[in-house]
Symmetry: C2
Subunit: 155 residues, 2 copies
DNA sequence: ATTCTTGCAAAACCTTTGCATACTG
DNA sequence: CAGTATGCAAAGGTTTTGCAAGAAT
């Protein structure tokens, strides 16, 4: 998806926000790989290393803006910081989180359509999104088993 | 469920931990209403108000202990703090989170059994738990609609 | 021009930790 | 008694905010 930049630019304009170099840089980087779960600090470090002129506060503010604009989703995998991923409307998926190594895998499917319909009806709750996290032990960690507990290095 | 105290006590003993007044008070409070999603600070304030002798650090440490013992689950609803709920093994449920008022509703059902089976097979991932959060607008907020945006007071 | 945005540093939060004291098994 | 657990205050880490300077419409 390469029109993410265009979409974002249009959406921000629509909301009355300005298009700045920093916002472009952030979105451009996210657009390079949609399957990321970056924290604000990680994103900041990457952009800095690329030589972009940007501050950490701006990264936080921009990501929050993007959440508001519906361009990215804010996720919490339980490692104490928020992570962001591009909200790819036509790419519903879920997350498998390994309790051992902390890696996050994507499950590119959406099994929740009927569940949602039934909830909207039963609870009179208008659903705008969902987030399913499944915890467990990934294939690699199971193989490397025997590895006692304690060799967990989250994300 | 009133044997939560007993269960917890036994489990802690099993793990070699001691049974203290503070741990008892915390679990006793959680046992009064299993449908809570308290943050450490909230729990601390409640116990303090009740006149219990306890410190915030102890609340944090005890909750972490309980997570380890599998007695409570640590949840993140995106309001910047961790929340804890009693892990009621035979009461699987999901959470509906209102984007407007921040309230969290419980959906007392587990629709994910087959989904999990298919994941375990397809991904060779050993599932130990899951957490499904569904975001949207609750019934009350829809009724009180017209209420522009901005009247959101999370949790 | 006006309004929005940025960057820095400071502040605000939530959570963890060090250490002396107090308690449990 | 030995080994844990507690409470306080300090430290740590993440996120937010105030404000003057800089950009964008």
């Amino acid at each position: 998806m390469d029109d993410l930049l265009a979409r974002a630019r249009e959406k921000l304009a629509q909301l009355g926000y300005k298009w700045t170099d920093q916002r472009r840089d952030i979105i451009a980087y996210l657009a390079e790989d949609l399957n990321q779960h970056l924290s604000a600090e990680e994103l900041y470090a990457i952009l800095k290393e690329r030589g972009e002129q940007i501050g950490l506060a701006t990264v936080y503010r921009t990501l929050e803006l993007m959440v508001e604009a519906g361009i990215v989703h804010k996720l919490q995998f339980g490692d104490g910081r928020s992570r962001y991923e591009v909200a790819d409307a036509d790419h519903h998926h879920h997350h498998l989180i390994c309790n051992r190594c902390g890696q996050v895998f994507e499950v590119p499917m959406d099994w929740l359509e009927e569940l949602e319909q039934s909830i909207e009806k039963d609870y009179d709750f208008e659903i705008t999104g969902h987030h399913l996290k499944i915890y467990g032990i990934c294939s690699a960690c199971k193989k490397a088993a025997g590895g006692e507990k304690g060799d967990e290095k989250p994300l």
